[in-house]
């Protein structure tokens, strides 16, 4: 288990080095996207500037709490949302926008795992509910796309971060998934408990 510091844009080579259990810290630009943002990105042509941030970049499943301070919207709590909701569309999202790191919580399924392998990306886990801690790494809101249309939680927030982490790689680009491993173990425990019930 190794630790890596990554800076956006991130190359495929850097991603292929990562294995489940590794820890990463990200500096540079990350882009938030939840359900509505994913759907919009796949249905419509996104602004070029936004596409540029996504390419070789980081998508974070998050809808922050923001506070208006001196006329600027500042995230004050920004932990991850449940990633599995994006499972039906994440494969296509990674393929189309060449995203290298998906940050979220709870893990994703086989379809996403195959996209990570095919296009060279990883899934990095931040403990759910830890919104207060996550904002430590956010240095600036660079831009917000579609705030009016999508609302605060669902807009694309382009965030400048410094050493965002520790993020645990729970799905890598070689087919490894801690979520899958634990699931299989839980299934065995479940069957054992039922037999003794």
């Amino acid at each position: 288990m190794a630790e890596y510091k990554l800076k956006t844009p991130i190359s495929e080579e850097e991603i292929r080095k990562l294995r489940v259990g590794d820890i990463i810290y990200i500096s540079g630009i990350i882009v938030s996207a939840r359900d509505k943002a994913h759907m919009k990105a796949l249905k419509e042509d996104l602004p070029e500037e936004l596409k540029k941030y996504l390419k070789d970049g980081v998508v974070y499943h998050v809808g922050p709490v923001v506070k208006k301070i001196n006329d600027k919207l500042i995230p004050i709590s920004a932990g991850p949302t449940t990633s599995i909701r994006m499972e039906p569309v994440e494969h296509e999202f990674i393929k189309r926008f060449k995203v290298r790191v998906v940050v979220g919580k709870g893990g994703m399924g086989d379809k996403t795992l195959s996209a990570l392998k095919e296009f060279g990306a990883v899934y990095a886990h931040w403990p759910g509910g830890c919104g207060a801690l996550a904002v430590n790494a956010i240095k600036n809101v660079k831009k917000v796309f579609f705030l009016e249309e999508l609302g605060v939680p669902d807009a694309f927030w382009v965030l400048e971060v410094e050493n965002f982490g520790p993020l645990l790689i729970t799905m890598d680009s070689h087919g490894g998934s801690i979520h899958k491993e634990v699931s299989e173990k839980v299934e065995r425990n479940f069957q054992q408990i039922l037999e003794q019930l």
Binding site: S77, T82, A132, V186
Partner: protein, 293 residues
């Protein structure tokens, strides 16, 4: 003359702020005890992170989790408390104010227009559970219920011959399907009996009980302990990444069931089991039950 309406509204705003920024002591203690018992190294680290995050949130008075929930109120109004029908308006205003002042994340979306209302209100929201009780006090509890855990709430209508073991199986099945997604370690509310709606209502109310309390019915208390032990044997662990700590508590409530039905309502609450309760006397004095103010 005290302005009781204003006291209630201001208190309700304060309750929302406390609820989303500071865990009640019973939840914090349960997390710390779980950390001491945990044997899995990764799980220990995650529990440490959860505890640190909760401490930072309290210190900075910022939301523990960015999902500050759909706002649900539990209201017990004394029959001699002077304000009753106006309470809805007061709590709705408090919810709108708290959204701006705390701030909370706007989470209320109209399912027909798909528009976020921007202020945490909308059809039937905030939702209020009413009870009328004797006395001259108003008991208020707020439950800002996160969506990630709510997604995994389930209703099972099992066959009466399956009985309590059947109900236990429903809980374990739900946890197994959910894995790390509802943000374990969890608090699980279980409502058994009544009708479909009653079982779920009881289950949701159950998650408001302090984690260190004891059910007054010893048989129910024993059932709660049994389900908790079994749930923690699943090995889901904090965030579903393995470990001994899958649940912080299991709370069961029962209602008489129809001879032919056996409803099992399951409500899942995340580790950030946020709530705030107060008692407001008709003289305007306020007592906080879950937080030091």
């Amino acid at each position: 003359m005290v302005n009781l309406e204003k006291i209630i509204e201001d208190t309700a705003v304060k309750m929302l702020q406390l609820a989303v920024t500071e865990l009640p002591p019973d939840v914090m203690n349960a997390l710390k005890k779980a950390r001491e018992r945990e044997t899995n190294e990764r799980a220990k680290k995650i529990l440490d992170t959860l505890i640190t995050n909760a401490e930072i949130a309290k210190e900075r008075r910022v939301p523990i989790c960015q999902d500050t929930g759909l706002i649900i109120w539990y209201v017990k109004v004394g029959e001699d408390f002077p304000i009753k029908s106006k309470l809805y308006e007061i709590l709705k205003n408090a919810t709108i104010r708290a959204t701006k002042e705390v701030p909370l994340r706007p989470n209320a979306v109209d399912p027909i227009t798909e528009k976020n209302t921007g202020n945490n209100t909308g059809p039937h929201v905030p939702y209020i559970n009413w009870e009328i009780v004797p006395g001259n006090e108003l008991h208020l509890t707020v439950l800002p219920k996160g969506g990630g855990s709510e997604y995994w709430c389930r209703l099972y209508m099992i066959k009466p011959i399956e009985g309590l073991n059947g109900a236990i199986k429903c809980v374990l099945q739900t946890l197994k399907e959910a894995m790390g997604k509802p943000c374990p370690p969890l608090v699980i509310g279980v409502g058994i009996g009544g009708g479909a709606d009653i079982a779920l209502k009881l289950a949701k109310k159950a998650i408001l009980r302090p984690l260190d309390d004891m059910h007054p019915n010893p048989k129910v208390a024993e059932l709660e302990q049994r389900v908790l032990n079994l749930a923690n044997k699943l090995g889901i662990g904090p965030m579903g990444l393995g470990g001994d700590t899958t649940c912080l508590g299991v709370k069961v409530e029962v209602a008489a069931r129809h001879v032919a039905t056996y409803p099992v309502g399951i409500v899942i609450q995340c580790w950030a089991a946020r709530r705030c309760s107060v008692i407001i006397n008709k003289d305007g004095s306020v007592r906080y039950l879950t937080h030091k103010v």
